[in-house]
């Protein structure tokens, strides 16, 4: 991913500067935060953390992401104390008391009649079944975020494993792995997901997992994206495998497993962390897309993609139903991308500018 220039954020980008000087630059820019930095030498990780903390935009995005997560996982509390109804609870008679007046929530044609407003019930309006869009957006968030984060972790674990094995061992195993990855990348991604989920839906049950479980889209997204990610890891692992210290470890008699996990893997961590933000963004968009098409998270479980799909029927009149899914996805993806970018700059200030 690319980086866009932020003023003041990476003044401390000169890697060759002595650390105390960098601390000074950081303090100048980032305000009070970096002031207590000692002139002791810092590990690259500490350096990266400090660079990230002086990056205002990335920090705001990180806070935004945490707020979205907290709000989503506080759904049960919000249901009870804010909206007074659960995410799947329908308003069957289609009316509510609004400012002491009886108001239609859903009109006779089944159109949502209550739009967004500053009130506790139906803060973001109602959907076609008289459900509270705000609560559904929050409940959907807890599902979408779980799918997104789970898929990201799975993608990273699988991709790293495949990439490191291929990149470190090279030879025939690598050739086979690379070819498998090439073939899988030749698949139109969304189409393959649709085909796979159609087949899974027909199966009803795969091992211990029900086909309607949110684990299905999570595993599918994570596993299928890991092929592309393994390429990145492989390229890095090849480079690391040729480094002197790896050769030294080998000369000292370290076995392959030990070298891979003790000497190669730790150096891949910056790459993995940098990519995690972008991957998370892609996964959340992927979940929204799949659920929108009806092959991701299965209704009645709310998810952001399902919410967009709920709003499809009344896109022009009750736009808020689709927005209840669309806005959170957009904000989350924006935050994840910005955090990813901040991480990229923090770990590799030269390369990204």
């Amino acid at each position: 991913m690319t980086a866009f220039s932020q003023p003041n954020s990476t003044v401390s980008s000169g890697v060759s500067l002595p650390t105390n000087l960098q601390g000074g630059a950081g303090a100048l820019v980032g305000g009070a935060r970096a002031e207590n930095v000692t002139s002791q030498s810092e590990s690259p990780t500490q350096l990266a953390v400090r660079r990230f903390r002086t990056n205002k935009i990335a920090m705001i995005a990180l806070v935004g992401f945490i707020v979205i997560c907290c709000a989503s996982f506080a759904t049960p509390w919000l249901e009870q104390h804010w909206a007074g109804r659960t995410a799947v609870e329908q308003n069957l008679d289609g009316t509510m008391q609004l400012n002491g007046k009886k108001t239609e929530v859903v009109d006779l044609r089944g159109m949502p009649a209550v739009g967004p407003g500053l009130r506790k019930e139906y803060t973001f309006g109602a959907d076609g079944l008289g459900r509270d869009v705000f609560i559904r957006a929050m409940a959907g968030g807890s599902v979408s975020l779980r799918v997104g984060i789970g898929a990201t972790v799975l993608c990273i674990v699988l991709g790293t494993l495949v990439g490191i094995l291929g990149g470190y061992y090279r030879g025939r195993a690598d050739k086979i792995l690379t070819y498998v990855v090439d073939v899988m990348i030749a698949f139109p991604f969304m189409l393959f997901m649709i085909a796979l989920s159609a087949a899974i839906a027909m199966s009803g049950q795969i091992g211990p997992i029900k086909s309607t479980s949110i684990l299905v889209p999570m595993i599918m997204l994570g596993a299928l994206s890991s092929f592309g990610f393994s390429r990145v890891i492989r390229a890095n692992a090849i480079e690391l495998g040729n480094k002197e210290y790896v050769e030294a470890a080998r000369a000292l008699g370290g076995n392959d497993k030990r070298i891979m996990f003790l000497h190669v893997l730790p150096h891949l961590v910056p790459t993995i962390i940098t990519y995690s933000g972008i991957l998370l963004a892609a996964m959340i968009l992927g979940e929204a897309g799949l659920s929108f098409l009806g092959v991701g998270v299965q209704p009645p479980t709310p998810s952001w993609g399902n919410l967009i799909n709920d709003g499809r029927a009344f896109y022009s009149t009750a736009w808020w139903v689709a927005a209840g899914g669309g806005i959170p996805v957009m904000l989350t993806v924006l935050c994840a991308n910005l955090v990813g970018e901040g991480l990229e700059e923090a770990f590799d200030p030269k390369g990204s500018r």
Binding site: T2, F4, V183, I194, A199, F292, Y315, V329
Partner: protein, 317 residues
């Protein structure tokens, strides 16, 4: 060079075969139960199951059935039980130009916007314009396509009735204008989602090139800035963009599913989605295979174009 092309084409064919095998496995072997019963439709009878078994060679085992499927697709005669035993290959092929037109129109918009904005951003890095463009690009990337499609429909079809709310007008029926009229909104939606990625990528590559020694040399020689930028910067900066474009374009041919289904375009995505509701997955198989062909052909073309643009790669072969 000729040998290289041949090797790449053979490689593509082998990959396509592997992809078709995986597709067959996912769609036919993976779901539990006898595939013949599933293919016989919602109310299978003894005879219909027998007929399906024979036609799709299910009685000869999975591999024979796979060969049957492949043969029927390649020869263009695939009677799908769920579609009243009509041949679905012509329908799938008819969907291709719709998707192709959509993808081309979208690509023209997003490339023009993305590369121009990215190049401008790189030359004026750090300026207000540059920062604004990058933020706008990031917001574009963050939009879920499905929701953006709905918003576009609301704004430019319902609120301001500029475009039809969906449906497809072929160039044969409505002329070029009619076609553009029905295609513009979905193409614009796709372009908005993609333009951001290209803006940011162009900006990064162009900025990296601007720092290269040979660019400084060209400047020092006294070449006019326009020539330096066009010949020395943009030409090399285009290589990664072309590579990404090839992949994205091919992906669109198989994956413009949201846009097509929301705007009601009878493209490949719509074709595949129609197959989702049926008990046999023959439409998914045929549609998927066509889409995978596009991806693989595009990859091959990208490789060749990359070689033409990059003298370093050319001399390596």
């Amino acid at each position: 060079m000729g040998g290289f092309i041949l090797v790449r084409m053979l490689d593509g064919v082998v990959k396509l075969l592997l992809v078709s095998m995986i597709l067959f496995w996912v769609l036919v072997v993976l779901p539990p139960g006898n595939p013949a019963i599933r293919f016989a439709g919602k109310t299978p009878t003894e005879e219909s199951i027998k007929a399906v078994e024979q036609r799709f060679c299910f009685d000869g085992g999975n591999f024979a059935a796979y060969r049957c499927f492949l043969k029927m697709t390649v020869t263009g005669n695939f009677p799908s039980p769920s579609q009243g035993n009509t041949n679905i290959v012509p329908a799938a092929l008819k969907a291709v130009p719709v998707t192709f037109g959509l993808a081309i129109l979208a690509a023209i918009i997003w490339l023009a916007a993305g590369v121009t904005a990215g190049a401008k951003g790189a030359t004026t890095a750090g300026s207000k314009l540059d920062r604004t463009m990058m933020v706008v690009a990031l917001i574009g990337i963050s939009f879920p396509t499905a929701w953006l499609s709905l918003l576009m429909l609301k704004w430019f079809s319902a609120d301001i009735p500029l475009f039809p709310p969906g449906g497809y007008v072929g160039p044969g029926d409505g002329g070029l204008f009619g076609w553009m009229h029905s295609m513009f909104l979905p193409a614009l939606t796709l372009a908005i989602v993609n333009a951001g990625v290209y803006t940011r990528m162009t900006r990064t590559t162009v900025r990296a090139k601007l720092r290269e020694e040979y660019v400084k040399t060209a400047e020092a020689k006294g070449l006019p800035p326009r020539q330096v930028f066009g010949k020395h910067v943009m030409r090399t900066a285009m290589i990664p963009i072309v590579v990404m474009f090839g992949m994205d374009f091919a992906g669109l041919l198989g994956g413009a599913i949201f846009t097509e289904s929301i705007f009601g375009l009878p493209g490949l995505g719509g074709f595949v989605m129609r197959g989702l509701g049926t008990t046999d997955f023959s439409m998914l198989f045929v549609g998927g295979l066509i889409a995978a062909t596009f991806v693989i052909v595009a990859n091959t073309i990208v490789d060749l174009v990359q070689m033409l643009l990059d003298p370093k790669l050319r001399s390596a072969h």
